[in-house]
Amino acid sequence: MSLKELFPAKYVTGFIFSLVLTVAALSVWYFDLSYQVGLSILIVTAFIQAGVQLIMFMHVGESEDKISIYTHTYYAVAMGLIIVIGTLFTMIWGYQ
């Protein structure tokens, strides 16, 4: 089996993209950035990389159930954000 068949473009691109995003995230450690800028970079790179994994590696859109699975994934992300942000809101930010 040829290398081209075993190493499809989708996966290689996804892999390289993930590495690029990781290096981009590293910039917050390497450079002296403000807290807001650093955190924004981390949030953007993390969520994009998660999306790369989901779409290019996990084949989230390939089956007959893709609407259910996409809906479920959005709901799960919303849940995760509610739990994290809600906890920080109630436990820390609320105590101003």
């Binding site: 917050v28 650093g38 981390l42 590696f57 089956s63 479920h72 849940m79």
Partner: protein, 198 residues
């Protein structure tokens, strides 16, 4: 058992489709699980009491190794599933074996990381911060460990029974699990280590 030959083997039976669907639901639950661990960590990250802070104990070297190793293993498991869909059992097992090897490497580095922390006075009982940190990392590590055994079981079954709708289904679901663990690591890398070292 009706087999649909127009779709990849892992989707080819009704039972297979149910299992993949069910596993996606499980992943949603795991998002809530790790979300709670992140919420706990981010709440307690400043509660270092008399113990060290993150910036005092985090070392970028091992973290980069762990990240690169896990990312590559996620790439490799993707290649394994692709080879499986092409019917190439040898390539599939090779990529799967390499995935697990990298997973083992990841665990090795993480164990080194934990023992270093303990020696530096950042143990599980030191402070709320260390407890939250080690529990978040440890839960992810425990998931990886479980994955190694699971992957090993699949390697044995595929070697013995070949690529059947059943083994293909298990391998695909395993790959979903493994990719998910990498997604969690991306968040750990960003919001535990990098944020702590900013």
């Amino acid at each position: 058992m009706k087999i649909d030959h127009s779709v990849p083997k892992e989707y080819a039976t009704e039972e297979n489709r149910l299992k993949i669907f069910g596993f996606w639901i499980f992943i949603g639950a795991e998002v809530a699980l790790f979300g709670t661990l992140f919420a706990t960590y981010l709440t307690l990250v400043g509660h270092t009491a008399t113990g060290p802070t993150g910036s005092e104990i985090f070392e970028i070297g091992p973290v980069l190794i762990e990240t690169f190793v896990l990312l590559t293993s996620s790439f490799l498991i993707g290649l394994s599933v692709h080879a499986m869909r092409l019917g190439n059992k040898k390539a599939m097992l090779t990529f799967l074996g390499l995935t697990l090897l990298l997973g083992l490497t990841f665990l090795g580095v993480e164990i080194y990381e934990f023992t270093t922390y303990v020696h530096e006075g950042a143990g599980l009982q030191t402070s709320a911060f260390t407890a939250a940190l080690l529990t978040l990392l440890g839960t992810h590590g425990a998931h990886v460990t479980l994955g190694l055994f699971w992957g090993l079981a699949i390697i044995i079954q595929v070697s013995k029974r070949g690529i059947t709708p059943e083994t293909a289904n298990k391998s695909f679901i395993f790959s979903l699990y493994w990719h998910f663990l990498d997604v969690i690591w991306i968040f750990i890398f960003s919001f535990v280590y990098l944020k702590g070292l900013m």
